[in-house]
Each structure stands twice: as structure tokens, then as C-alpha cells.
């Protein structure tokens, strides 16, 4: 685990993106997988004969299997990117982990007591029916906004973060007494 928590810090919950956010890449991968078959069938219909001592169909199938291997790896890179993009809400902090491709990872931490505004937004037909949307957080003293896009049940996420913020405020007050 690459997230280092403080001594008395524990994870309350994690927020991940809705599976529907993967639909675009999934359709792209499927289309890319079918593309060579489509090109081959168009090529077969053309008045062209390939003259070769070797088996051209085997050559095509070989290149197709390599193409599928490449797409297979790309699909898992996209899934890893999706899976590792997460908000971790602890009893003290909100940790925003952003996986931007396989070689770029950003982790930003904000104290719960510095959170000012929490907004959830559901936009459009798919988001409304499948109940997913964006959650954004405004941090006190900085212009930086934390945004996680396409989370499942954003209203519930907002409420849970608000609950964590108020529990954190209570525990800080208790400690200061």
C-alpha cells in the first residue's frame, strides 16, 4: 500500500468511479479489436489477388493475434488507471489518488478540518438513471478544488464526507477540552 497513514488514522471509506465511466474505453477497445476483421473483409471484396509463396491468411491471423495482445494490455492499463483512481476518506484526511496513466500518479491530501464546501452534481440522462456524477470539494485557503468525476451515488458520497468532517470537528473539540 503506497498510502502512509498517521499513527491514529484509519480509513472510513473509499470512493471510486462508477463502472459506466469505463464504457467509452471498452467500446473503443472492442471497435479496435474488430477493425482488422473489417479491413480484411473489405480487402477480400476488392479485385485484388495477393501473390505469395506463403499462406497469407496465416500471416493475417498472426498479425491479428499480436494486435489483440496489444489491445489486451491496453485494456488492463485502462482498467488499472480506473481502479487506482480513488478518494480515501480517513478520520483525519481526504486523500485524492489520481492515476494518470501507468507512469504518473498524483496523491493530494487535505485535512478534513480545511474542507469548506462539498458539492455533488448529476448531469444528463445516463448519470440520472444510473445514479452517478461528480463530487467536488473546496479547500479553505487554497483555490485548488478536489474533483472526482463519475462516482457512484454522489449525493451519498457528499453526505458521508460531511459526516466525516463533522465527526472530525467533534473529536478535535473534545481533544482541545
Amino acid at each position: 500500500m503506497a498510502i502512509n497513514l498517521e499513527k491514529d488514522e484509519y480509513i472510513i471509506f473509499e470512493v471510486r468511479k462508477h463502472w459506466f465511466t469505463m464504457m467509452g474505453p471498452a467500446i473503443f477497445i472492442c471497435a479496435a479489436a474488430l477493425l482488422p476483421v473489417f479491413i480484411y473483409s473489405i480487402f477480400s471484396a476488392l479485385p485484388v489477388v495477393i501473390e505469395s509463396e506463403k499462406n497469407i491468411t496465416v500471416l493475417f491471423l498472426f498479425l491479428y493475434s499480436i494486435w489483440l495482445l496489444v489491445l489486451w494490455v491496453i485494456a488492463f492499463v485502462i482498467w488499472t488507471d480506473y481502479y487506482l483512481d480513488v478518494w480515501i476518506v480517513t478520520n483525519k484526511n481526504l486523500i485524492d489518488v489520481e492515476q494518470l496513466g501507468v507512469f504518473h500518479r498524483e496523491i493530494t491530501t487535505t485535512r478534513l478540518n480545511r474542507i469548506q464546501d462539498i458539492n455533488s452534481e448529476v448531469r444528463g440522462m445516463f448519470q440520472t438513471f444510473l445514479n452517478f456524477g461528480d463530487v467536488s470539494i473546496q479547500n479553505a485557503g487554497t483555490s485548488k478544488q478536489f474533483i472526482i468525476r463519475g462516482v457512484e451515488n454522489p449525493a451519498n458520497v457528499r453526505e458521508n464526507i460531511e459526516k466525516a468532517v463533522s465527526q472530525n470537528a467533534q473529536s478535535v473539540n473534545m481533544a482541545s477540552l
Binding site: 505469395s52 496465416v58 498472426f62
Partner: protein, 78 residues
Amino acid sequence: MEKGALTTIPLNVPIEILWGILLVALVLFSLFSWVLVHHWNYYGIKGNNRIFAKSLYFIGAITFIVIAILLIGSYDFL
């Protein structure tokens, strides 16, 4: 070259080129697999999800690699 209405394209790809393509693909596959497995192990993909992801990834990839090798093997004969 024209044969009636048909256009004929000569295409003779030596088998060594196919092995070369496979080798490049294997090198890239190894590199990306190492990076992916590192991410899955180190950045907290949990228990069963990790085992499932690894199994699915390697079973699929090895299937494509084996098919590619078998096709190279049959390239000269079929």
C-alpha cells in the same frame, strides 16, 4: 501487375520478420506486465480482485502469444 480485371500484389514476408515482430511484442508485453503487476501489488488492489486480475491478464495474454507462435510454426507449411 494485371490479370484480367484483378490486380495482383506480390507479398513475401520472410518468417524471420514474424519472429522479429513477436520478439518486439514480447519485450513490450514483459515491460508493461511488470509495471502493471507492480501497480496491482504496491498500490492496493485487494485480495481476490488482484488474483482475478492477474489470472485473467496472464491467461488472456499467454493465449494470444501461444496462438501467435503456433501461427508462425504453420506459416511455411499450410
